[in-house]
């Protein structure tokens, strides 16, 4: 064997000193790596937020898409408008009307999923060091976007009705007194990801009015609004105030693979969003816009949403009833009226991130609550999703999860440990299993 005489000194990345400061949080993490097992059939994954699209009429959709390509292929496979196709934007207005929103198609900007909409909004408003207010807890994908723009996220205390208005007023006053610039409040008022809670109409009014009077912009993210499981949708915050920036999505009401969402924004904001969109992607996916427009025109999409609601209702009920049956004392959870998620609070002292390897051993996956905070909170919380596994698998998964909690309690009791010492890092963005 020939050994080279020279010493080889490497960090395995010759560009390691060239990266922008904003990449500092972009590191491999053991927690994310543990999710690699979530797609194995032995694992019941209560972690992922993937919508269940198995009930879509795939044969009918395939036929109408084929017809679309045959008749309009030259158009649907060409570059398009940076703002989104005009006819499609009008169709989006029909969707938003179901939640009380009236608007002009010129104020809609189509994006590659609402995630890109959030990215564009953050890009045009935020400089490093600015503050964004967010619920406690808040969507992990949004936190990743905010942190990539080197923004400081300040969580506002929330309760079973969403953001606490009194806490909101106090937080705004405190942050402004510190001389920091609050750029906007980011909120998911319907069936929040991850908490599952919904802001009642009166709460929405109070939050919007509080922000309006304090000069704080509101960004309303509403991917789950039409997936109400117990009652009709509550009017959107945007229907209460035209200055609210509204993010919408077809990922949950149709299918996420098209990557189509939108931003509804006041005129001046929209102008900047279009320019930002053009510099980011030239134009949002044209084929996807026509495909969804075709679906909205030719299929009973409202009836399909009803099918989705019935399916998710059964799964939610399976999760809630099993939680009631099997969870150890000291555990509590939210009761979502729609959407995909239940937010569990574990007995005092437990740390859900520390339990994750035990979950893999027990063949159940869940998302530790700390992923949904930018400041290290959430150790006692877990997000469980009921959207993807069928009801019988959900029951098995929750039973396994309860066993994991019981075993962790047992081990901690043995050693007299009251909290698990886990080092936390800020989230670096959404993984497919976390969205």
């Amino acid at each position: 064997m020939t050994e080279q005489p020279l010493r080889h000194d490497t960090r395995l990345d010759r560009f390691v000193d060239n990266y922008a400061e904003r990449t500092n949080g972009m590191r491999v993490s053991a927690v994310r790596a543990l999710f690699a097992v979530a797609n194995r059939p032995e694992i019941v994954s209560l972690a992922g937020g993937m919508p269940n699209i198995a009930d879509l009429p795939l044969g009918d959709i395939a036929e109408s898409m084929a017809e679309m390509i045959r008749t309009r292929g030259m158009q649907v496979m060409q570059y398009g408008s940076g703002q989104g196709e005009p006819g499609f934007r009008e169709q989006i207005l029909d969707v938003m009307a179901l939640e009380g929103i009236t608007a002009h198609p010129d104020d809609v900007v189509v994006t590659a999923g609402s995630q890109q909409g959030l990215d564009l909004v953050t890009r045009i408003f935020c400089d490093p060091g600015d503050v964004i207010l967010a619920e406690s807890p808040s969507y992990v994908g949004a936190l990743g976007t905010f942190l990539s723009y080197q923004v400081e996220v300040v969580h506002v205390a929330s309760d079973e009705d969403g953001i606490n208005p009194e806490a909101l007023r106090e937080t705004i006053a405190r942050v402004q007194a510190e001389g920091k610039r609050i750029k906007f409040l980011y909120t998911i008022p319907n069936y929040n990801n991850p908490s599952g809670v919904t802001q009642p109409l009166a709460r929405r009014r109070e939050v919007v009015e509080t922000c309006h009077s304090a000069g704080v912009l509101v960004v309303e993210d509403n991917p789950y609004g039409l997936l109400s499981l117990d009652a009709d949708p509550i009017p959107a915050m945007r229907s209460l105030d035209d200055e609210v920036i509204y993010l919408g999505s077809f990922s949950k009401t149709f299918a996420p693979g098209f990557r189509v969402g939108w931003v509804l924004a006041p005129h001046a904001v929209r102008e900047k969003l279009v320019l930002a969109q053009e510099s980011a992607t030239l134009c949002p996916p044209v084929f996807s816009q026509f495909a969804i427009g075709n679906y909205l025109t030719n299929h009973d999409w409202r009836g399909q949403v009803d099918v989705f609601r019935d399916m998710y209702r059964e799964r939610r009920d399976a999760m809630l009833s099993t939680l009631t049956e099997v969870m150890p004392a000291g555990t509590s959870w939210t009761h979502p009226a729609g959407g995909f998620f239940v937010w569990v609070t574990l007995p005092e002292g437990l740390d859900s991130q520390a339990m994750l390897p035990r979950g893999v051993n027990a063949r159940v996956a869940f998302v530790p609550g700390s992923a949904f905070y930018a400041d290290g909170q959430g150790a006692r919380n877990v997000r469980l999703s009921y959207c993807f596994p069928p009801a019988d698998r959900i029951r098995i998964g929750v039973e396994r999860f309860a066993d994991v909690v019981r075993h962790e309690l047992e081990v901690m009791a043995t050693f007299g440990v009251r909290t698990s010492p886990i080092e936390r890092r800020t989230p670096s963005g959404p993984a497919p299993d976390l969205t």
Binding site: H8, R11, L12, D13, S29, A30, A33, V37, F415, G416
Partner: protein, 310 residues
């Protein structure tokens, strides 16, 4: 011959395994081999049986891949495979057993105690922890007995931190190892045996920027400096290579292994052996191959040829 690279599996290290497997498969294809990649699943045995002249490369990390179970199955099926046997893998994968075997062979290794959670519960954790602390002294290393990639590993500086470290280790498995902490230079030595006896490749010195060679430091490119051969005097480098080959033999390993060690003022001391060394872009064995003037595809080609004819 068709090479079947098995990667993935249902362990805490699935992600690392998938990356190792893809890289080895690509290297073998670049070397002109016919390669099939597969996960561990219900179709695996049929796949192997239905393949003409199969040679298996198990790139599974943790769990069934390194604990010997899958290798025992391959032995039952009489399918040639690269890497240590089932029996020696089982022995090596369990850190408490491997260290005992290495010490019994007269090689240097840290003192350690391996205990299941139940014994703490039955005998009373406070007294037991106090005795262990007195016996081994602080600082200590606490780790799961059967895991890899530094998952569940904690350095414990004082008695107050020991309970939390044990809770973290027991999240990965039923037995935790409490080990004397060794200060020194961390070094990994890859051992390669292509039929002429085990040879130690140049030791790789590990210098994590954070000071701790944890999961992030292992798999984030740029987070760790790797120096090959390690920045050590020639006699210490030679001692490290000798220890690696001796441990490889004592554990009954074959073909390819990696021995991790700490070079202390008293000389190199064994930390653990690896029967399926990582082959990712940030793994240690490929760096050793490179330093030895070898290519990943060439090494694995040589090994699959070796097992195909033996």
């Amino acid at each position: 011959m068709t090479v079947i690279v098995i990667a993935g599996g249902l362990s805490h290290e699935r992600d690392v395994s998938l990356r190792s497997g893809r890289r080895v498969a690509q290297a073998l294809r670049a070397a002109g081999r016919t390669v099939v990649e597969t996960d561990v699943n219900a179709d695996l045995v049929e796949l192997i049986r239905g393949t003409e002249a199969p040679v298996v490369v198990p790139m599974l990390h943790g769990g069934l891949g390194e604990d010997g179970a899958l290798r025992e199955v391959l032995e039952v099926l009489d399918v040639p495979f690269v890497g240590p046997t089932g029996a020696s893998s089982r022995l090596t994968f369990d850190k408490s057993i491997a260290t005992s075997v290495v010490r019994a062979a007269g090689l240097a290794a840290p003192r350690q105690i391996a205990l299941p959670h139940d014994i703490f519960r039955e005998l009373g954790a406070p007294t037991l922890m106090e005795s262990i602390g007195q016996q081994l002294g602080y600082p200590l290393i606490v780790k799961p007995s059967r895991s890899g990639s530094a998952l569940g590993v904690t350095k414990v500086d004082d008695p107050a931190s020991l309970p939390g470290a044990l809770v973290a280790a027991y999240a990965y498995g039923a037995v935790a190892v409490i080990e004397q902490f060794l200060a020194g230079s961390e070094v990994a030595v890859t051992v390669l045996d292509e039929g002429d006896g085990p040879v130690a490749l140049p030791p790789v010195g590990i210098r994590p920027e954070s000071g701790v060679y944890d999961y992030e430091s292992r798999y984030t490119a740029g987070a760790t400096r790797f120096v090959t051969p390690a920045e050590l005097p020639d006699d210490e480098l030679a001692a490290a290579r000798e220890l690696a080959v001796a441990a490889h033999k004592a554990l009954g390993l074959r073909h390819l292994s990696r021995v991790d060690m700490m070079v202390t003022p008293e000389g190199p001391m064994f930390l653990e052996g690896n029967v399926a060394p990582g082959m990712t872009e940030t793994s240690l064995a490929p760096l050793a191959f490179e330093a030895a003037g070898r290519d990943l595809g060439e090494v694995f080609s040589s090994l699959v040829d070796l097992v195909a004819v033996s």
